[in-house]
Structure formats: C-alpha cells, structure tokens
C-alpha cells in the first residue's frame, strides 16, 4: 500500500477526533495514576495541529509530520507533548522528500519515531508507558502484516500495562498502587494506531 499526504492528513484528523471523543476517559485513566490531564493535553495539542494543517497545507509527508511534531511540542506541554512531538519529528526526518510512503517507508518512519521517544524518555517495554503500546505495534509493521494487525498489537500492549507497576512518569510514584489501571499514554497510543488502521 501507498500512504499519500492525504492519508496522513486523515490519520491526524482521526486522531484529533478520537482524543476528543476519549478526552474524559483519558483524563480519568490519568487521574487514577497521574494528574488527570492526559486527555486534555492531547485534545489541546491535536486541535492546534489540525488548525495548523488546514492553514499551512504541508506539501510532503515529511513536512506534515514535522508540522505535527512541532505543534505538539509547542502546545501540549507535560510529558506527552515532547514525547509524541519527538515521535513525529523523528518520523519526519526519515520520510525525507518522498511524496508518498510505502509500507516499508511508513514502518521505518514510525520506528524512528519510537526510537526518538525512547531516547528522550528512556522507557523500555514493561515500564508502563506509551512505549508498551507503540513498541509491539511498530515491530509488526516491520513484518508488513498490515495496519490492522499493528493496531491490534497496540491495543494488546495497552491492556498489558494494566497489571504493571510503572517505572517512568508520574505513575512511577505509586508503586503497587498503579497495578490495575491501564496507562493513559499507552491508551492514547493505541487510539493513534486505531486511526492509522482506519483513518
């Protein structure tokens, strides 16, 4: 499959809608093990992103991804702003000047994005963060089994965070009290992959 500028655009618009639709749920997940703002943070950031996309109309996948990353960084704040921002910025670097991405190209972009998140946040799988959803999803993308499978892996990764103790972010203060709650970042990451599969 080929991923056009239009496809990427739809992906981001879908993400904005999903984060708004799940705003209260993401806040509630974050209230349980963090500070209750993850949904508000992403809704604020992606609203800004969609405004910018409509105003700037980037001409290449790289420009689009960069614009998403820069806007998230400058409008989200919190932990998730720099992390998701870096995800898109690093993806943009790999996209180069291609006018559309193929399966391998998309996989490489998102892999670079994930690597950026991990470089910045130092989280490993199992730390109960967004990495737990992103990492298995990006892994299967490399195997070219399709976006729906990647989304499926992200959801599984999200669910796998429920029994975990957190080692990164605010939830790490809680020790055993974090057990039993899905990580908000892993939940938003799985929504992002849901949109990639059905933008």
């Amino acid at each position: 499959m080929k991923y056009s500028l239009n496809f990427l655009n739809q992906w981001i618009v879908c993400a904005e809608q999903q984060f708004k639709a799940h705003l209260a749920e993401l806040n509630a997940l974050d209230a349980a093990i963090g500070d209750g703002d993850h949904g508000s943070n992403l809704a604020r950031g992606f609203t800004k992103v969609v405004e910018k996309l409509q105003a700037d109309k980037p001409a290449t996948p790289a420009a689009l991804l960069k614009l998403v990353g820069m806007t998230l960084i400058s409008s989200v704040g919190g932990a998730s702003g720099p992390l998701y921002g870096t995800f898109f910025l690093e993806a943009a670097k790999v996209a180069g000047d291609q006018l559309q991405l193929d399966d391998a190209g998309l996989a490489l972009c998102l892999q670079a994005g994930l690597a950026g998140i991990q470089r910045l946040g130092k989280a490993e799988p199992g730390d109960k963060t967004m990495v737990d959803a992103l990492s298995p999803a990006v892994s299967v993308l490399n195997k070219q089994v399709g976006l729906e499978m990647a989304a499926q892996k992200a959801r599984e990764g999200r669910d796998a965070t429920i029994p975990m103790i957190a080692h990164k972010g605010r939830a790490s203060y809680l020790g055993e009290r974090a057990i039993g709650h899905a990580d908000p970042g892993a939940t938003s990451a799985s929504l992002l992959f849901d949109c990639l599969a059905k933008p």
Binding site: I33, G36, D37, I73, S74, G77, G78, S172, Y173, R177
Partner: protein, 333 residues
C-alpha cells in the same frame, strides 16, 4: 465543585491578566506564549533565573518573579508543564548576557520540556544550566521510578539563588548553589482532600470521611498511602521523621523550616502544624534559625500541608535574608 472562573479554557490566561493588573510595578505578563518577567527585565550583567511548571500552584512560580528572586516564570496549563518555546522565549526575554539558570521540578514533563528549551537556547548561543529539584521524600528514589518530585525546596532555592544572582554570582556559582540547596533540603506533604482542576472540573481523587493521602504530590497525584486522620501533632511528626532521617539532619544542624499550606488550609491550621514541626525539630537537636509559613506552593483548592526542612550554610542564610521584592515574597525593600 464551584469555582470563580469564566470559561475553563480561559483560566490561566485571565488569571495572568489579573496578575498583570495587580502588580504593574513588579512584573510584566506576556501572552502567547504565556510568561511573566520582572518589570525591569532584562537585567544586564546578571545571571537570569527562570522557572516554570504547570499552573495551579500559585503563587509559585509567577508570584516569585521580581528583584532578588526569579527573572521569569513560565506557567503551563493547569498542572501541565510549559512548552519548550514558551521557556525559550521567556529565557531569551530575560537573558542579561550572563547566562540563564533553569530551576526545574523533577517531573518527566517539566524535565523534558526544559531540556528541549535549553537545546533551542544553546543553539541560539545562550548559555543555559538546569538544576533539577527533587526533594520529596514521599517518593522512593530508585532506578525504577521517575525519581523524587520537586516540591517545597523549589521555593527556597528560587529565593536563595535569586539573592545570589542579584549579588552578582556567576552562572556556575548560582547553579552550584541551587544544587546545594536541593541536596540539603527534604520535604513531605499530606492532603485532607482532593483538588479540582478548573480546566476539567474533576476532583483529583476521592477520600473517605476520615481518610487522608499521606505523601501527596502537588498535582493531586495519589500519595504514598491512605491513612486515617490523626491529631495534627501526630501527623506532623509522621511527616518530620522521614524528612529528618533521609538527609539525615543531624544534631546542631542549622535549618530553615518551611510549613506550606496546599491551598485551602487555613492559617490557623498551618500555625498549629508549624508549632508541632518546630517542636520536633528542636527535640531532634536542630537549630531552627529561619522560618517560612504560608501557602506558597499550592495545589489549587487542596486542603493539606507540606513541610520542607533545609540545612542552612552561611551562604544560603545570607541570600535567604537578602532583599526580595515579588508579589508573594517580599522583605528588605
């Protein structure tokens, strides 16, 4: 939960406009991005001190902008760290040619955003140092956590480093002093009730009739454990002992004792806790020589208290006593 606001999305913007109106002689407020600078910024030839973090902790940090304390503060959305460009612009606006010190509370969001801002500033040729504050003994400091949170010691570090910067200390000296304040301070807090984020309208947690959160964070994050309410003296001792043991504070140490209300705690209760805390400190053989009591680092309308103990050396004491002229802390001027 009832609040005096107009629109949830306007809370921070309108509060900042109110601050600008209320303190025209002390501060200037910048909109889009939000930051607060001292009225006479930039001060050429002085190290610039910049801090920031989520809103909802007022007067921290904006109330500490002014002579002898911060040059700029960057308020994020409620409980959400500011963004890199906000921090970059604020830092650039107050840079006086001697470099910028970022005083950052240890939360993943704050650390990452300040780090990105520092990279942007450095690529513009501005010398930046960051000190990460992590004084909260409620959190285990281990490889398996994000590390201890920055809480009350931040207020003390901002005052003391502000004094040093005003006196002409270099960036390296101010940064070293800030690290030393952080290394010499320990804090812990408890909440009697939750806070309500005006941007979401949600209470941060629910407690039973008689339950308190012990080891609370300043963003309504759940604490170490839930325990039953007990007399103020008992609770104060329960906060003081882990603080004392952690550094550890030793007999004859000279200390600054800071009792901080978390927002909705009446001064009467703060004084009762202060009394108990100084009694514990004295019993422990410490010499309490400087004191601060009040709601300086809050969590919106949370009822509760935190205690910070700082081991003073002569430099710290001198810069603590130095004049300060900000909306929330003022003496000598």
């Amino acid at each position: 939960m009832k609040q005096l606001v107009n629109a949830p999305g306007q809370v921070v913007t309108e509060a900042l406009q109110g601050m600008a109106l209320a303190y025209p002689d002390l501060i200037r407020v910048h909109d889009n991005p939000h930051y607060i600078v001292r009225a006479d910024a930039p001060k050429n030839g002085k190290v610039a001190l910049v801090s920031g973090g989520g809103s909802g902790h007022e007067p921290m940090h904006g109330g500490f902008v002014g002579l002898g304390m911060l040059d700029a503060a960057c308020p994020g959305a409620v409980f959400t760290s500011p963004t890199p460009d906000q921090i970059q612009e604020a830092s650039a606006a107050v840079h006086g040619g001697k470099g910028v010190l970022h005083i950052v509370k240890n939360y993943t969001g704050d650390v990452l955003n300040f780090q990105m801002a520092a990279e942007l500033l450095q690529s513009d040729g501005v010398e930046v140092r960051a000190v990460i504050m992590d004084d909260d003994v409620a959190v285990k400091d281990s490889l398996y956590t994000a590390g201890r949170r920055g809480v009350g010691a931040t207020v003390l570090a901002e005052k003391i480093c502000g004094g040093a910067a005003e006196a002409g200390a270099s960036l390296n000296e101010v940064a070293a002093l800030c690290s030393s304040v952080n290394a010499s301070a320990r804090s812990m807090g408890l909440a009697l009730g939750p806070c309500t984020n005006p941007e979401t309208g949600q209470a941060s947690f629910t407690l039973g009739e008689n339950e308190i959160e012990f080891g609370i964070g300043i963003h309504g994050e759940p604490g170490r454990q839930r325990i039953p309410l007990q007399p103020a003296d008992t609770l104060t001792e329960m906060l003081m002992l882990p603080i004392l043991e952690d550094l550890p504070f030793k007999k004859r140490d000279e200390v600054l004792l800071f009792v901080n209300g978390l927002g909705a705690t009446p001064l009467v209760e703060q004084y009762i806790v202060y009394r108990a805390a100084e009694m514990v400190a004295t019993k422990h053989g410490l010499k309490v020589s400087r004191r601060l009591v009040g709601s300086y680092m809050t969590s919106l309308d949370m009822a509760g208290i935190s205690i910070t103990l700082l081991r003073l050396d002569e430099t710290m004491r001198q810069y603590w006593d130095a004049p300060v002229r900000t909306p929330a802390l003022r003496w000598g001027l």
